[in-house]
Amino acid sequence: MFRFLIRRFIQALIVMIVISIISFLVQGRLGDPVHQMVGQSVTLEERKQIRDELGLNDSLFDQYIRFAKKAVRGDLGVSYYYKEPALDVILRKLPATLELSFSAIVLIIIIAIPCGVIAAIKPKSILARTLMFFSTIGLSVPIFIIAIFLVYFFSVEWQIAPSFGRGETEVIFSFWETGFTTWDGIKHLFLPSLSLALALMPLFVRLIRSEMMEVLQSEYIKFAWAKGLSPMRIYFIHALKNTLLPIITVAGIQTGTLVAYTILTETIFQWPGMGFLFWDAISRVDTPLISAYLMVVGAMFVITNTLVDLIYGLVNPTVRLSSHGL
């Protein structure tokens, strides 16, 4: 366990260094920071002086070290647009994105698992065929089209759910702005989380089905039948647990897709989260914010992947955490 954590930590460190180099290049090379700071009314002489003061004429390596030192202290630069530390801006938007992703993941789990299991148990039944039909269609509809149609029907035609913003939010634990505690917040969460879930669901339904069908052919499932266990126990304990092992790995890999999809969803629903912020930052060429976003997403990415590996190790007894990892 200890060795696993150490290895994992080293791996995370390498990934973070790579991401920080990219962020550094984004921040340092994109646009002219002096120009951003003082505008055009300054003479070339003065500019040069400012550049020297800022250390922009030092070697790239020195500049990177300075950047990294600041980054470790949580200083990722100041947003041009918001005029405040980029990290603060991002962290303020973090709860919105996390709540959106969390709701989508919960929806995926409670819908995709039963659907996949049903489709695997009786693959020739009408229900299973219908499920597979819809999952094939779902796989072919890009997330932004799903979102557009959800908005069209739920907000415009039927006027059931609002189509943009987070609605009413409350601050809990003095830093976390949540939409879970108000009815309005939950109503606003409905469409974005549904489209995020629907976009990733077909993949998981199909995966769970094919894995489960394979598991159901195995000897230990036949043995479980021969023991006279109830079908529920066989499907949901014996088969499902083995089915989920590869699914967990895939879920870890899908984290990146989830990040990309939050950018799309948040843009469409004007959800005030990190993805929407990132999109805004791009259109405003707010380089410190872009580079800070990369750092934060990179860190979250590393954390999720570590968590996924930990969960995998806990669920799968044949993997001893000490020997797992890189």
Binding site: S140, F144, I145, A260, I282, F301
Partner: protein, 312 residues
Amino acid sequence: MKQTSKEFSITSRSKHWVHLWHGFLSDKIAVMSLLIFAFYCLISLAAPLIAPFDVRDPNFMDLENSEIAPYWIDGDSRFLLGTDGQGRDLLSVILYGTRLSLTIGIFAVLIQGVLGICIGLMSGYFGGRLDNFLMRCADVQLSFSNMMVAIIVMALFQTIFGIASYQHLAMYMLILVIGLAEWPLFARTVRASVLSEKQKEYIDAARIMGIGSGRIMFKHILPNTVSPLLVIFTIQIANAIIAEAALSFLGLGMPVTQPSLGSLISSGFNYMFAGAWWICVIPSITLIVLILVMNLLGDWLRDHLNPKVYKD
């Protein structure tokens, strides 16, 4: 001896494909999908010939004609599928948009394929440290989804070069970015096939006869990986088209002046709730049907060629 065994393997291989083709013809959904896909390819190729308007004509945009509903609603026979917000004939833009989306998808996957096949062959054939290193890279690359990498790279690209010069390069950048992102899928599959083929005697025989490793890899090993590669190819084109559409939708892909299906949907999004639904819905359906038939073809191939495609 070698001659006969080679002949045998070729005849049995072609027999296998003939058998497969007969099976294919008896599956209505698969045949329909192939026909629709062929139709898409045809209209993409012939877009400049069959499109009622020339999209490069400066008079093509005419705000006086904006937001005209399709022919069956409005009765304006000039515009079969209506016009968009800038007064462009929707049919013409969709034809050109499909052409662009398909081109980007196919070329991106070609890059993925070439890169992945070369890396997979080297990794599997030479093994050892090189293999270890390449597969580690594949793992890392895979864990960053292509969509995420593409969004970030395109965003950076746009900020570096500015919108204006970006527009000229957009198509090549899209092909490159989507193409570079997902090579590991090809590499892993090819590597697995190489490892299993390497065990077989004919490879040893070829090596002993002094045939170079490049020749062995491309002439002897690669043909055996055709079926899994075909499956990945089909499904990856669908994925690449989705990725391109998503990027264009975000404004990071094709510009409005040179619209792909994604950018058409994006610009139609704004008109959707103002009553001009066709600007958004018709390109959406075009895109969905294209991806659906690719996925159906991929599924059929996967079920019938039964290759070991890496799921993760």
